[in-house]
Symmetry: C2
Subunit: 661 residues, 2 copies
């Protein structure tokens, strides 16, 4: 049962696809104030859990902290951060009363879920202009499935996007990319994708390729593809201000950029220096920007990652003027620390300044809308623009596409990666915890930078993180410039890395099948134990294990120098450890608590009682997987309905095959 | 068996008290290069653990990362940080070969313990001027005990220092302090100490008290003491440059400050603005500085915390000149981001700049020594100066004294708190992991800022953290200005806070007894399970439980929204949960793995098989504990030898009483 309440004059975000009539009055749950600002208040009971919020910090159960939906280029995901890159305003209260709430509101919104007062949940925003969807259901999981139905079908990438990818900010030349390809191929570690971070471009100009380093780019793309490797370039939100650069010239001519109040094009400095932001909320501008992806698809490119699309701003001209004023008045440091602080704070506060987000406007259906009022839609609409252009560029063909910033609705057009994490053990666990929450909000093609983006990783951390990454649809190792080399062949003991990454390919038919099932039934690809075993009070509190698809549970190791970990089995399961050379061990474990030993080169999983999964031989890339090597492992007598398709076309028929043991 | 090797011309740090003859040749273990720079290399075996490093980041077993001894004012203890406030160069390799190494070297030193290469340990420093102590023993624990014997007896604080203390950067007036006292007393939550952070001083001048806010300070100290509460002021390293301020005038006159190469007093800006650093490595200057503590002890003060003594530097005049040059050349931002980055980096890099640590000198026995060569001794010698002054000010009386920066040797003069942590769950666990490592290096009176210093805490985090703090000798709730109020009465449900903090007082006779035993036998107050159950391979890997004293094990909850946790019992134990109103539950659990439920208002502990511990009624402060209420809990027939003393005098006789059940 879904009720839609309307407050004020909401902006049409396009998050919800289904037509739902307006319900008059107020929801049964909570208490609402909607005069000027908006406030929803609910008194939680002991034991209530609150799920949702997609790409948010901390636990699967969001109780106990405060979160702010405000898409932010936040490079330091410590536990106290309240905003990350996404804005996913869907929550589910699970307890004596169970209901879901979707606040369709594209500006900043605060979710205090028992932070100020343990028992109080308060959701609030500055303007009472929003749609509130209230969903009643039998369980939290039921509420999620109802919500998923109204927001439309999730994105399906091409099958190659389920292969393993390597990325690094700092690859600059053909040689850099060839070295990565050689490193993987010569060490016989599977690889499907190499990501091209900002340095492939000419002066960071979108839709250009550095001609000096990448002469005859199409031939280079083909050379890589010949080796089973796709190159996946990054596209940033800002378009470099440079006369003679066609994208800039067209944008200015067409009036496609976001404008200041006075009608001039708003300038934000980002990687290329001064840029303008395409007004992706404007249909014409979005179409224009999207069509530019063709310049790369025409050269053989089959996928993209959209970045810096919160949109991130290093500084604006207005911000710089303020800094210059501060510097002038403080340069002599006559007031000592106070002056130094002022300089430091002003210089440090230039990036992503709220004031800048109030300095530019979108033009939507003839209306000027100040950016901050629709801030959380930018990455979504940039990604939608690309996806819709792909439909024109190559109708019926799937492209790999994922984004950093997002809002619910974008899940129909692409995936997301969870941004600039760090090489911290705590971020391995955070990666796990985010996955089901993202799924609740429709984002199925998701993953984190395995091994960690910022800071220096270690061999052990990367191996353990990859063993989680085996199960995330987007499986990518990515790291920042200036950090330790992080490719899987950089640490010695490549056998261990080969073994872990090969396990991904051996499980790929299962993972892909479960992904398709989740998409076509508007379901979750990975679920918290609470959704699968709601009657099991202990299972409901487990925050470091997940159910992947219908047949397996995972319990990765996320602590340093550990020989294994504790795991809770809500039912009997078959504990599998995947090892080198295609070997595995299996052991039946009863319902209850166990400590299981897991070496750093092993990938553990648990097959649920009475289930089985398909397994194939590893291959160097997805296209090389030989389905004739398939066998079935798990419980004897079990059957598995395996979904598959051609992995290429948007209208590919899904085949369903019964595999049994 | 301890061997002392001499390389080059070591600086006499005073870390080791015992006279040990020099051994010629090279150690049996590892490989040493000592030409110009120094390097020790050891190939670790699979399964070797490496302990030690005191106040270092990450695990009890230090394998897998790289640590740098370089006392640093580091306010952001994320997992990747290699240097914190202390420099504790003692490690123990535990495996087929078991040995300890103490590198007595007071400048920057790097410990790569399997970071670059998993199996390789490399300890290195720039100059081959050091003592290397190599300790052979039967076990890691045996090595530690041998080491502890040569570095001298650890500090014993007065007994009141085992009470609970409240602190906050931001208490400014008598009223602020009275409010805290009222908050605790009116809610009947025990409290012994309120810490005075920098705002009690007049313009942040050491050994002054703001006369306007604290008129008749001795009467205020007495008023608080009347209520069972000691005020513990902070003392910073830097002395404000201000003519007419006696400490400054005397320091200049006596030549007691650190000097530039040209003989002028080095100026560093810290809280008071421009300051000079007392040359605490110079005996005469140290005596002079130490004697100034008398200005506060004469007013009734019985304890201090020494801060900013890495020494922390906000900026130097030289640094500011460099910034001004950078600003002049970059202010127009003609090179855009490059210029902004330069301004940001120069402004952000002023603090604790290595260049500044090369700009000033100490005068030791007539020799000028550049600060960076002895950097890690500053906090140690400042604290030693205070402790030795106390011996002159009030011979035979114990003072509470702890420091932020430290080096081995300082453990004889005071304790340490582990600096500016955050309100992160990961820092609760880090607190636990640091404790035994600190004990290995002699630091027994230690604790972390419970609830977290930086960022906003939550009720649940604070309660769980306090439940660990119950067992740390220094038990203090401390938070930064601008963060959420963090006193135990700020969250409602004061019953829960009362219950947890009262448990500290109920256990105090045991904790104090075990502390005394540890000191007088040069032993550890808290040990990793590996030291107590070395034959139990599983126990050796446990990193989230500790043995406190000889009789109990602790296993605190360190995750949000948890109903309990897993715990490993190397032997049968009696699981106790302390609850409100002096109640507790007990349950005998067998050897092996268990999941135990622990509510947020409960304090869990495990009494080892066949042991017992004393328990008293809670009291509002240590002085109010009524020993006549003592009973004994644990295993029937068990005996406990309880140590006690008068808690006041340095030469108080220890009484030993047999308590039995």
């Amino acid at each position: 049962m879904i009720r839609k309440y309307v407050f004020g004059r909401p902006f049409e975000t396009g998050a919800v696809e289904e037509q739902i009539g307006e319900t008059q009055g107020l929801p049964l749950y909570g208490e609402i104030h909607s005069e000027g600002s908006f406030l929803f208040r609910y008194v939680m009971r002991d034991g209530d859990a609150v799920y949702g919020l997609g790409e948010a910090n901390r636990g699967i159960n969001k109780r106990g902290y405060c979160y702010v939906s405000d898409c932010t280029d936040q490079p330091n995901h410590t536990e106290d951060k309240r905003s990350l890159y996404g804005a996913h305003n869907f929550i589910v209260v699970s307890g004596e009363e169970t209901f879901g709430l979707f606040f369709d509101y594209p500006s900043k919104m605060t979710f205090d879920i028992g932070y100020e007062k343990t028992e109080l949940m308060t959701v609030s925003c500055e303007r009472a202009d929003l749609y509130l969807y209230v969903i009643e259901g039998e369980s939290a999981y039921d509420v999620v499935r109802q919500f998923r139905k109204i927001i439309g079908r999730s994105y399906i990438p091409p099958k190659f996007a389920f292969g393993f990818g390597q990325s690094r900010w700092g690859y600059k030349t053909k040689e850099d990319f060839r070295n990565v390809a050689d490193g993987y191929r010569s060490n016989r570690i599977p690889l499907d994708l190499i990501y091209m971070d900002i340095d492939y471009m000419q002066d960071y100009k979108d839709f250009t390729v550095n001609e000096e380093e990448f002469s005859d780019f199409p031939a280079f793309v083909a050379e890589m593809k010949e080796r089973g490797i796709r190159l996946i370039p990054i596209i940033d939100a800002g378009v470099k201000v440079e006369e003679g650069y066609p994208v800039y010239d067209e944008g200015v001519r067409g009036g496609y950029f976001c404008k200041r109040k006075d009608g001039s094009d708003f300038t934000a400095s980002v990687w290329p220096g001064e840029t303008h932001f395409p007004d992706v909320l404007n249909e014409e501008a979005a179409n224009w920007f999207g069509d530019h992806y063709r310049s790369l698809t025409d050269q053989g490119i089959e996928g993209f990652w959209n970045d810096m699309n919160e949109p991130a701003i290093f500084y604006s001209q207005e911000g710089v003027r303020e800094l210059q004023q501060v510097i002038s008045s403080c340069q002599k440091m006559e007031r000592g620390m106070a002056d130094l602080h002022k300089i430091q704070q002003t210089a440090g506060g230039l990036a992503n300044a709220p004031a800048d987000y109030r300095r530019f406007y979108h033009s939507v259906n003839g209306q000027k809308i100040r950016h901050d009022l629709v801030h959380n839609l930018y990455g979504y609409h940039m990604t939608k623009a690309a996806a819709q252009a792909f439909g024109r560029i190559a109708p019926n063909r799937r492209f790999l596409l994922f984004s950093r910033a997002s809002y619910i609705g974008m899940h129909r057009y692409g995936g997301i990666w969870t941004g600039d994490n760090h090489s911290w053990w705590s971020h391995l666990l955070l990666n796990l915890k985010m996955l089901p929450s993202l799924n609740m909000c429709g984002f199925l093609y998701v993953g984190a930078d395995l091994g960690g983006f910022g800071a220096d990783t270690t061999k052990e951390l990367l191996l353990r993180w990859l063993a989680l990454g085996v199960f995330t649809p987007l499986m990518r190792d990515h790291s920042a410039i200036g950090t330790r080399d992080q490719e899987a062949y950089q640490f010695g003991d490549t056998e261990a890395f080969r073994s872990v990454i090969e396990t991904r390919y051996r499980l790929l038919p299962y993972l892909y099948s479960e992904y398709l099932k989740a998409v076509y039934s508007d379901d979750m690809y990975c679920r918290p134990l609470a959704f699968v075993y709601p009657e099991d009070a202990f299972a409901c509190g487990v925050e470091d294990q997940l159910i992947i698809g219908d047949e397996i549970m995972i319990a990765p190791v996320y602590t340093e120098n550990a020989r294994g970990r504790y795991v809770y089995l809500p039912e009997e399961m078959r504990f599998m450890k995947f090892m080198k050379d295609g070997c595995y061990t299996e052991q039946t474990l009863g319902q209850g608590h166990h400590y299981v030993e897991i070496a750093v080169d092993e990938v553990p999983l648990f097959i649920r009682a009475g289930r089985c999964i398909p397994l194939v031989d590893a291959a160097s890339c997805v296209d090389e997987i030989d389905m004739r090597t398939m066998k079935v492992i798990g419980y004897e007598g079990a059957r598995y309905e395996r979904y598959d398709d051609d992995g290429i076309h948007t209208d590919s028929q899904v085949t369903r095959t019964i595999e049994s043991l």
